[in-house]
Each structure stands twice: as C-alpha cells, then as structure tokens.
Subunit: 339 residues, 2 copies
C-alpha cells in the first residue's frame, strides 16, 4: 500500500539510486532528472520509510525525554519548550516519566529504548546509586537536566538557583526586614531540595540570619501537605515573626491558604515566598513573590544540546546555565521592586 522508493523510481523512469540521491541532496543529480524525480515524489505523495532509513543511517531523529513525573506545570513547561525546539530542528520527542517511587525499571526501560532514540535528556529528582548505574549505561548523547551525575559523561542544563535564592533572601532580609527564616522543601534526597536548601542556608548566613534545624521542613512539593503543615504551624510562625521560604509555588500557596484560614493577615503577619514562578504564583492572595525559573527554556536547551552533540560527538561536555530571576509580588510584604 504505501508508496516506496521503487514506485517513485518507476514513475520517474530512473533507478532507486537516483531517487535516493535527490532525496538526500547529495551528489549532483542532473537538473532535468531531479525535477522529474521531484514531481514524481510529489505526485505519488511519497515519504521515505523511517525504519528503512533508520536501519541504514542509525539515526531516528527521535529524542527521548525522561521526567521524574508528569504532574504539574513545571514539567509540562519543560515538555513544551523541548517539543517546540525539537520541531524546529527536525526532531521528534518521545516522552516518558519515572514515578518518584519507581524502582529504577522505568528508567531502565527508557534507557533500553536507546535503540530507538538518537539521544536522551533526563531529569532525575534523586541521584542514587541505581540511577547512576543506569545512566552510565547510556551509550548515547545524554543531557542531564538540573543536576549532575558524577562519573557519567553528559552535557547538562542547570538552573542557577543559588543566584535566585540569594536574591530572594537578600530581598527578604534587607528590604522586608526578615529576621527568622523557615525552609519548606521536598525530601532531603531530592536534588532540587538539596541545592535550594544549601543556597538558602548560605544566603541566610550571609544575611546574618541563622537557621535552626527545627525550622527546616521536608515535604513533597505538594499543596496539600504544605497546607497541612501550615495548619499546625502558621500561628507559631507568626508569633515568632518568621518569613517562610517554600521551595516551590504550590507549597507556598498551601501555606498562604493555611495562614489565611487561620485568620492571619498576610503578608504582614507571615511573609511567604515561593519558587518556580508557575501560574499559581499569580493566583494566590497575596500574590507570590517568587523566583522565576525558565522551565521551557530548559527543555529547549536540552534539545539544543542533544542536537549539537549529535552533530559533533567529540566536543567537550557542555553545560548551559540558565539564570533564575527574582519576581517581587506582594507575599513578601513589600510591594515595590528592590532597587
């Protein structure tokens, strides 16, 4: 049923070699013959068979994108950015997600798709030994998003979270007069949490604020759990005049809502800031002061990097650092942008 290169050749009265040549724009094919072949292609609606081509070229023009989970806006933005750039560069995207509680088999399975994809971009939420082992089995161009896997050769796209956290805390301390800080993050093994917490502690120290370990909370990045925590804690926090740093907007929203439900007046009695600058950030009341993380750029850069390595496999490992940016809204207690 589907029209093959042979059909085109017959139709244009040439051999399949010639058709293949005009298809690949290589070797100069005689002007007249080329036109003939091209019109035959158009006429028959011919499309080269991807498999036959892949079999010969060892190239599928498919890129794999593996995300920790498909929940939430954060990841869908990455997909969006990656998808758009892939399209532009003539690639397609194969997406899979690895559940947080996955035993590694999911990642394995995707990596097993190596036969199919030309390269893989992976975002891992936790770098354990198994993940590392799996990743080091990847023989293809590999891009790691928002992290680094030591001992495994890969390009990477990272967010400069330190800068964002630093700017945020500086704003909180210098402009909003924060004197006590609470950190609400994900699990201690989560790479983002690790980095954000480290940056948080560093920036707090720099600002002359010391953090008590009882003021560091490890949740799961979700609204509900943050809301629950908030219900227990907001009064105490307000009394102690702390400012809350949540490692993502959703948790910040949960805490804000818990505080409002508790009758607190925000931001006055409890400044809360978030991270990521997802759409939720503009939907809370007070609206969230947060750090904008260029999610879709991340996806796009990953694709970009993959394609570059595909073209030049020998280039040294590259790392793209994306800047995060402080977005001041109302939840931190100060309305004007810091000078």
């Amino acid at each position: 049923m589907p029209v093959s290169i042979q059909d085109v050749a017959d139709h244009a009265n040439v051999s399949i070699s010639t058709v293949s040549r005009v298809l690949n724009r290589r070797n100069i094919v005689n002007e007249a013959t080329r036109k003939r072949v091209e019109s035959a292609i158009k006429e028959l609606g011919y499309r080269p068979n991807v498999f036959a081509r892949g079999l010969m070229l060892r190239r599928s023009h498919i890129l794999g994108l593996v995300l920790p989970d498909l929940h939430g806006e954060f990841y869908s933005e990455i997909i969006r950015g990656a998808n758009a750039r892939a399209r532009e560069l003539g690639y397609r995207l194969m997406i899979s997600s690895v559940a947080a509680d996955d035993d590694g088999s999911e990642l394995m399975a995707t990596v097993a798709d190596q036969a199919l994809v030309d390269g893989v971009a992976v975002m891992v939420s936790e770098v354990d030994a198994r993940t590392k082992a799996t990743l080091s089995d990847v023989k293809l161009p590999l891009v790691v998003l928002d992290g680094e896997v030591k001992g495994v050769r890969h390009d990477s796209v990272v967010i400069d979270q330190r800068m964002g956290v630093a700017a945020l805390l500086k704003h909180l301390i210098d402009n909003c007069g924060a004197q006590r800080l609470v950190f609400v993050g994900g699990q201690p093994t989560n790479v983002d949490t690790i980095e954000r917490l480290a940056a948080f502690q560093e920036a707090a120290a720099e600002g002359g604020v010391s953090i008590e370990s009882s003021d560091v909370f490890h949740l799961d990045y979700r609204y509900d759990t943050a809301f629950d925590l908030g219900q227990k804690k907001v009064r105490e926090w307000a009394r102690r005049r702390v400012s809350v740093f949540a490692a993502n907007d959703e948790m910040a929203a949960g805490i804000i809502d818990a505080a409002i439900d508790a009758g607190l007046s925000l931001p006055g009695e409890l400044p809360v800031v978030g991270f990521d600058d997802t759409r939720i950030a503009a939907m809370t009341r007070p609206r969230l002061t947060t750090v904008h993380v260029p999610m879709s750029s991340m996806g796009a850069s990953a694709v970009e990097l993959l394609c570059q390595r595909l073209e030049d496999p020998t280039r040294p490992a590259t790392k793209i650092t994306l800047q995060s940016e402080l977005i001041v809204r109302e939840s931190c207690g100060v309305h004007a942008n810091p000078s």
Copy 2:
C-alpha cells in the same frame, strides 16, 4: 558496536532463525536450545534493533499523541494517563502539540509521521475544514479526544459534559438558589466551549432560568483574561445577584480573585463555579465547586482504544464516554453535599 542477532546466534551456536524464534516466542524451540539462546542474549545484553524489526513488521509500537497546546494541567494530566497506559501495553508515546494559532502545518507534520507511529490520538480544540481534511488523510488507527470529526472514521473518547453541567446547574439552582446565570467560556469556535455552552443553556432552561446573550462571555480559558473581565463585571454581577459558571477552573479562579479584590464577600455575594477540577480548584478561597473531568483516564482510554484497534482493525468505531462528576466545595455558596 551494538550487538546484533548474529552475535547472539554465534555465541549460542545456533542460527539467527532460532534466535529470532526464541525472541518471538513462536514455534516451539527446544528447551535446551532456548535456554542457551536466552543466556546468550542476557550475557551480551542484546536488544533487537527497533528499525529492522519495524521494517519487517510494519509496527513501531509507538503511538502519537497530538494535543492543542501543552499549557496547563489539563493536558499534562492527559499525557500522564496516556503515558502510563502505553507503558503497560508495551507502547511508547510520541507527543506533539499544535498551537492554537497554528496554520495546520503542525498537525500535518505530525500526521506525516504516520510512517513512524502505529496510531494517533488527536485532541483538537477547533474543528475547521482544514483540520478535517488533514485528519481524513490519516490512514492509521485514529482516536479523537473529546470531539467528533464527521466524515472521518475514528474511535473516540468523550467526556459526558452534559451530565456534569446539568448536575452543576441543578445544584446551583435548586440548592443554592441561583436565579441569574453568567457563562464565561472560551472562543465560540472551541469545541469544549460549544458543548459546555449548549449544555449550560439547556440545563438553565430546564431549571427555569433564562440566559441573556449579554451574559455569555467568550475568553480564552486563562486566569488573566478572566481576572480582567472580573474587574469590570463583578460589582454589576453581585448587584444583579448572578452566579457565574466558568468553563474551566482557571477562569473561575480569575473571577474569584477579581471579586475578592473588589471587596466582595464570597461566596455570598457572588457564587462562582468552575470546570475540570484541576489542582487549582482546591487552591482558591473559597475553594471551587466544579465538575471533575477524568483527564488522565482520557489519555489512558485513548491509548487503550488505539491498541484495541491495532489488534482488530475491523471492529466497528468505538466511543468511550467518560463521566464527569460534580464536586461541591464552597464557591457555590453551599457547603453540604446535595442529597
């Protein structure tokens, strides 16, 4: 470099035919030989070449998923559901998005990938002539999500929105005493808007409430525009004692926030309900009364349908109808669940 079937054959001292046979679990291979081959496979870490296989079998085990846009939770939930089910059934997912303002070329491009995927699931936000033409070019198993394209043979997954809208309006009218209704939807050409508006008008009529055409607003499903509209309208709406039906949660959130900013007391002065039951619905204050739409089931069902048709291409066109469900929270003005 990659190990081929020949390597396995050599290693196990059999012919490639035998290896192929144990791979495909067909024809009975002698127990002992099979074990030998299997251990050779494991030892060499052999994985069949997807392209060679695809070339022979005309099957890629890849499913295409085309969404109108990758923004927002709605779509990411569909992806999640589809991805999970695809994995279970041994398929992979290739995702692409068609921007709302796309000229059709994106859809075209994806459909052109037919050579690659075994089937396509498409969600279209507007069914115009071009879309229809493109879709009727699809020679593969086709599933249309949340819509129907007349004249094109396809299976479909639809949400029974009528039931949801009816239940919602009944609740609003009977239990919350709504007497005037406002509809805030997407553009008039949008399939969801068309359906929700029709169901809305029908259910309103049934409840004895007439809708003035000036009370029907066509926006774009986004928080910001709804917020803007709200800023202009909430006082008037409150004065007229209307209840607002927004065609998705984000717009409902925008209107609620505008109302609160305007100093209105909610839900008392302005009941607002949403649709979809995304995570936002639990984040507004008052929390949204809305209609739960099983988004991830939609994705899963689409994959399911695709696989079924792949197995039996002759079965009659199938339509899976997913139920939507009324979720009563506070924004409608009544806290208790209706009896």
